[in-house]
């Protein structure tokens, strides 16, 4: 199913009981670019520079975000974000990935698990990048799931307040290492701020730092793949 909205074509994809929105920002020849947004973000938050990519450009709304459905029952964790990205990749066939924040963590995991379909990936800073650090947050995921009163006062855009549980999502370097090793052509966008702890592991596995300019980052990615 697809529909044209404001020059952007939206495909509705089914991931189990959840309907996802995959936006095609532009058409083009060659390898597609699949964009995975940050925690509390959406497909609408990407800078227009991403359209410098010569091939078709797709932007996913993760479950609970943007135009994708909220999880009935409010449970969000790795299974859903990773399988959402996998569902989008399956739709597109093969793609380079650009992921910001939480989208960078799950993007790299997908790039390692589906290395044949993902010739390269660009990891960007953004919300959800650090997660709770190397181990679960002492406050715990479930402590961050808001009560109904807290949900009513939630002020993080249009996403499901229950996505706040993802702030307790751990980023153990030893877990990501085999994915970073299996993934092809990984670029890390260094915007001058402190690098997240798990990016050092990615660098040790061959990930290359690039500058904060998105257009040149995409050009590097294009050259690499």
């Amino acid at each position: 199913m697809s529909a044209e909205v404001g020059g952007d074509t939206v495909r509705k994809l089914q991931n189990g009981r959840v309907t996802l929105a995959l936006h095609q920002r532009k058409a083009g020849e060659g390898t597609p670019l699949l964009l995975l947004h940050e925690l509390y973000g959406s497909s609408a938050g990407w800078a227009t520079e991403v359209d410098a990519w010569p091939g078709p450009v797709f932007a996913l709304d993760f479950c609970g975000h943007g135009e994708s459905a909220w999880m009935r029952g409010g449970s969000y964790h790795i299974e859903h974000f990773l399988s959402d990205a996998d569902t989008a990749l399956r739709e597109v066939g093969s793609a380079v990935l650009a992921g910001a924040g939480l989208g960078a963590w799950y993007g790299l995991m997908l790039a390692g698990a589906r290395a044949e379909q993902v010739p390269g990936s660009l990891l960007l800073p953004g919300r959800g990048l650090e997660g709770s650090g190397s181990q679960p947050d002492p406050l715990d995921t479930e402590r961050r799931i808001p009560t109904e009163a807290q949900a009513a006062a939630f002020d993080e855009g249009d996403c499901d307040p229950c996505c706040a549980g993802m702030e307790g999502d751990p980023r153990p370097p030893d877990f990501i290492e085999p994915f970073a090793t299996a993934a092809r052509n990984v670029l890390l966008v260094d915007d001058g701020r402190a690098m997240p702890h798990w990016w050092r592991t990615v660098q040790d596995c061959g990930g290359q730092k690039v500058g904060a300019d998105l257009v040149s980052g995409l050009a590097r990615l294009q050259a690499a793949v």
Partner: protein
């Protein structure tokens, strides 16, 4: 909060329920909202008495406490809950450990006063986490053989490859609408008996009648078919150190007999329990993993003796 329809299929009513010695029907049932899902509870005992909340294990349901609950009701208000996706609680789009804890805490909050928490197997781990997170709501804690899994042996297949397989198998799992139908309740009994050979057929006939529903093509398990395991960053080594914050009295109960899903090997169990500051430990002789099912009178006597009114 948005209220969602329950996607569980309708079932054909079948009466009467099988009987099992010592079980009593619940005196009250309630449905407690928790983020758009209704959590179903069974109750026995004086509504004004000190509440005891009972949480079951994976693939079980509230009636697994149908012998223990009425015995505890001698002195307590006993509330046995169906976890989401199990028994007569609602189905969700997804499941996870964190949201189960949230449901438990919502059930506790609905009682309006601190409670005693009792959990078995997965429910034992979850009541322990609930007590860790909201200690002010929990007076005493009983964990029946729910002390986490053993560390997994090193896998032969690299993690990215296992994750790809996991994504493929998950896709098949979340797309299924129902469990396969069984011709008769006895087939379900045999299926469960193969997993839990220590449980007797008569109990299982009672248990599966409440765990399954009849549809035109046969009997189906009631629990949600999309539930399943997904790999992720998790280490069993993270479990027990987190118990160090538990301030309330904790009773750890295991059976003496080796069984399908427990208990843990003694050195590992002792090592994990050493993290709990205020611990008592009891081994129930002659019981396996389902201590409260195999030995309801002994378990009730133990809890009536240990839990404060």
């Amino acid at each position: 909060m948005v209220a969602f329809p329950n996607p569980r299929p309708e079932s054909i009513p079948v009466d009467p329920a099988p009987e099992y010695p010592g079980t009593l029907p619940p005196e009250r049932t309630r449905k407690i909202p928790s983020h758009g899902i209704e959590i179903h509870t069974l109750e026995w005992g004086d509504p004004e008495a000190q509440p005891v909340v009972l949480a079951h294990g994976m693939w079980d349901h509230a009636r697994s406490f149908a012998t223990l609950g009425p015995l505890l009701a001698e002195r307590f208000r006993v509330i046995a809950m169906d976890a989401r996706g199990h028994g007569d609680s609602g189905w969700a789009d997804s499941y996870g450990w964190g949201i189960d804890i949230y449901d438990l805490l919502n059930v506790v909050a609905s009682l309006g006063r601190p409670v005693h928490l009792v959990g078995h197997s997965k429910g034992g781990g979850q009541v322990t986490d609930a007590a860790r997170i909201e200690p002010e709501r929990v007076r005493q804690l009983v964990n029946i053989d729910g002390f986490g899994p053993e560390p997994e042996p090193e896998a032969d297949v690299p993690l990215p490859e296992r994750m790809a397989q996991n994504l493929d198998s998950r896709r098949r799992r979340v797309e299924r609408q129902s469990w396969r139908p069984y011709k008769s309740l006895d087939d379900l009994v045999e299926r469960r008996l193969a997993q839990n050979p220590r449980l007797d057929r008569e109990w299982l006939r009672f248990f599966v009648w409440h765990a399954a529903r009849l549809e035109p093509d046969g009997w189906h398990w009631k629990h949600d078919p999309i539930m399943g395991r997904f790999i992720g960053p998790f280490s069993p080594d993270w479990i027990a150190p987190a118990w160090a914050v538990l301030k309330m009295p904790v009773l750890a109960v295991v059976g003496s007999e080796p069984d399908t899903w427990g208990p843990l090997p003694e050195p590992l169990l002792s090592e994990r329990l050493a993290h709990i500051p205020n611990l008592e430990r009891v081994t129930v002789e002659g019981a396996g993993h389902f201590v409260h099912v195999e030995k309801p009178a002994e378990t009730a006597s133990l809890l009536l003796d240990w839990l404060e009114s």
